[in-house]
């Protein structure tokens, strides 16, 4: 078969067998092409014989091709090289990649048995060395079978790039792949955009006559998803800064992000393209519907603000209506495109996903601060909770839980999308710790030395302020706690106590960060799990805020009633006097 066919087949094979890192997929893909490296000898012969093709073919190519690189010995060499080139990881990971590379290389030999026989001579494919097995029935390079296979693989490259945001172009680097996927997906997005704007998709247009609505509460497009998922009312440059290859990050995001302009006259336009810069401008306001139907503007966002990012993580109904109060220029990215980016597991994708996490964490922190500023009926006098310490510093950990935790972990919500191997990897990076009821797990200003997954029991998160404390959340089995301090490498901002006798999976900060910032499949899953945890925190805080706001309004109404009643009774008293 042709060289490009071998390269594509090997890449698809790496993708299908879950070679998670781009580097590993490249290794497997090129390993699948490696037996044809003997073509270099032909090229050298061409130069040696001053481009006399006949001489080069007869004296070198005919003798060399399929002799030295199409055999098991070469497969073994490829495996050894792949082992040392495999992306950073434990020995088991390297062995796996070496095995996949050897298999790809061996499959090249097999595919050449079936589909590679130059006319006039038979294919020779070796067993342990490159001699003498002939199959005269092999398809030649130009036979229709080989052509069909090549065309199907090439067509699949477009389809896969469009559907998954990744393609065999990855063999030539992340930028090449991002460029190719950007073109393929950009065309699809432009078509969708046209449909959305002419209303034929059943989706909403983005503006009204005077006040343009970007996101609308309880509104979904015809396919059940929010029409716009994330808008940066500025350029996405903030996500393109930082260490590493700026070009790769720009390509990763620029190929997917689109430019949006929302005007004042029911006109919305979206364009795609790499890093089209625009003047950050515009104002939007976000409003929510209060219990009872009253509208409340909860935020006014200016240039540089980001909104709608929650829909990147979890498709669902918008919780607020965001309206443009002036013309807005910004960048948008759809949920599907975001998923395509982060599934690439490149450095740019990790950074982008982390940026969204940091953004969500900031919003949760701001909401919590607002919540703590409001007095609540559940405030109680504070206990004496030690600060600045690690309460579990001397508590023994164990690699094995007191019950069969390994069988139990897959049932926890945190591990919902993890495979068995990935759960095992997370579990083996930490240790179990039993904590009795009332025991502190971490303390305010204590070091963020570990993140914890509640396996059994429950932990309560407590904020203490001015002699009062408030329980912010009770985290049951499958919930992650203490991870923000670990990710930000700072002290904890709240207390965590065992609500009841609990079993926790303690993941040391270093191991947690290593997995979280890695480029493996488990890393992507962990980042997604962290984001879901943040979303749950945000929803919980939002509910508490709404409850307190409603309570405050009811209290205010009662006070007003009492005042009116007092005034009424005062009048009666005055008349009697």
């Amino acid at each position: 078969m042709q060289g490009p066919t071998h390269l594509m087949v090997s890449w698809y094979f790496a993708e299908a067998t879950h070679a998670s890192a781009a580097r590993d997929r490249r290794i497997v893909a090129w390993a699948g092409l490696m037996p044809d490296v003997d073509v270099l000898a032909y090229l050298a012969a061409l130069v040696y014989y001053r481009f006399d093709k006949e001489l080069a073919f007869e004296n070198v190519w005919k003798e060399v091709h399929h002799r030295y690189t199409h055999n098991l010995s070469f497969v073994a060499v490829v495996g050894i090289v792949a082992y040392f080139l495999a992306s950073a990881g434990d020995a088991r990971h390297k062995v796996r990649i070496a095995g996949l590379a050897m298999l790809a290389c061996a499959l090249h030999n097999f595919l050449d048995v079936v589909g590679r026989a130059p006319r006039g001579r038979s294919t020779r494919f070796g067993r342990f060395h490159g001699t003498g097995w002939h199959a005269t029935w092999s398809w030649t390079i130009g036979d229709w079978q080989n052509i069909v296979i090549f065309v199907l693989l090439a067509a699949g490259m477009f389809a896969y790039a469009k559907a998954r945001g990744r393609s065999p172009m990855e063999c030539f680097g992340d930028r090449a792949d991002a460029w190719f996927c950007g073109i393929v997906r950009g065309q699809a997005r432009a078509r969708d955009s046209n449909r959305a704007c002419d209303g034929s998709s059943g989706g909403r247009c983005f503006s009204e006559s005077s006040r343009s609505s970007l996101l609308s509460a309880s509104t979904r497009s015809s396919n059940g998803r929010a029409a716009v998922h994330w808008v940066v009312a500025s350029t996405p440059d903030s996500f393109l800064q930082g260490p590493g290859r700026a070009g790769a990050r720009a390509a990763a995001l620029g190929g997917h992000a689109g430019f949006i302009h929302v005007g004042r006259h029911a006109r919305a336009s979206r364009r795609t393209g790499p890093r089209r810069l625009c003047d950050p401008r515009g104002l939007v306001e976000a409003e929510v519907t209060q219990p009872g139907g009253e509208k409340l503007v909860v935020a006014r966002l200016a240039a540089g603000s980001v909104f709608g990012e929650m829909a990147l993580i979890d498709l669902g109904t918008c919780t607020a209506t965001v309206r443009a109060t002036a013309s807005v220029d910004g960048w948008f990215i759809s949920n599907e495109d975001f998923r395509a980016i982060v599934s690439q597991r490149s450095a740019a994708a990790v950074r982008l996903q982390h940026a969204v996490t940091v953004m969500l964490a900031g919003k949760v922190a701001a909401l919590n601060a607002q919540l703590l500023d409001c007095a609540a009926p559940e405030d109680r006098s504070g206990r004496k909770l030690a600060t600045g310490i690690d309460p579990l510093a001397g508590v023994p950990r164990s690699r094995r839980a007191s019950f069969d935790a390994a069988a139990f972990l897959p049932r926890l919500p945190f591990f919902e999308h993890f495979s068995a191997d990935e759960i095992d990897e997370i579990a083996s990076s930490g240790a179990y710790v039993e904590v009795p009821r009332g025991q502190a797990i971490f303390a305010v200003d204590g070091p963020g030395s570990s993140a914890f997954i509640v396996v059994r029991g429950a932990a309560e998160i407590v904020h203490a302020k001015a002699g009062c404390e408030r329980r912010m959340a009770v985290m049951g089995p499958g919930q992650l706690i203490g991870y923000l301090a670990v990710l930000h490498e700072r002290a904890h901002g709240a207390h965590a106590l065992a609500r009841e006798s609990s079993l926790l999976l303690d993941i040391p900060a270093r191991a947690f960060r290593e997995i979280y910032l890695g480029d493996r499949a488990v890393s992507t899953r962990l980042r997604a799990a962290v984001q879901k945890s943040l979303l749950a925190s945000m929803a919980r805080t939002n509910r508490a805020l709404t409850r307190l706001l409603s309570q405050a309004r009811l209290d205010a109404a009662t006070m007003e009633g009492k005042t009116l009643e007092a005034a009424y009774h005062g009048q009666l008293t005055a008349a009697a006097d």
Binding site: V9, Y12, F13, E15, A16, T17, L72, L103, A106, L107, N109, F110, L111, V113, V114, G115, F125, R127, W133, H134, A135, T136, W137, I149, L152, G156, Y160, R164
Partner: protein, 59 residues
């Protein structure tokens, strides 16, 4: 479907390696045999079909 496709992919890969490197020793040294021809072509078809199915079923 996903599991089935993955199983078929691994099976056809193993089968391909067997046909390329072990068949001459274990079954027959004659590459022109109809059995080898049929097995090789069938393996190629199963390999590509299962590869496509596995990729299509990937989440």
């Amino acid at each position: 479907v996903s599991r089935l496709a993955r199983a078929a992919l691994w099976a056809s890969s193993a089968s391909g390696v067997f046909l390329a490197f072990a068949w001459p020793f274990v079954v027959s040294a004659d590459p022109e045999s109809a059995a080898f021809h049929a097995a090789a072509v069938a393996t190629v078809i199963v390999f590509f079909a299962s590869l496509a199915a596995t990729l299509a079923a990937r989440r």
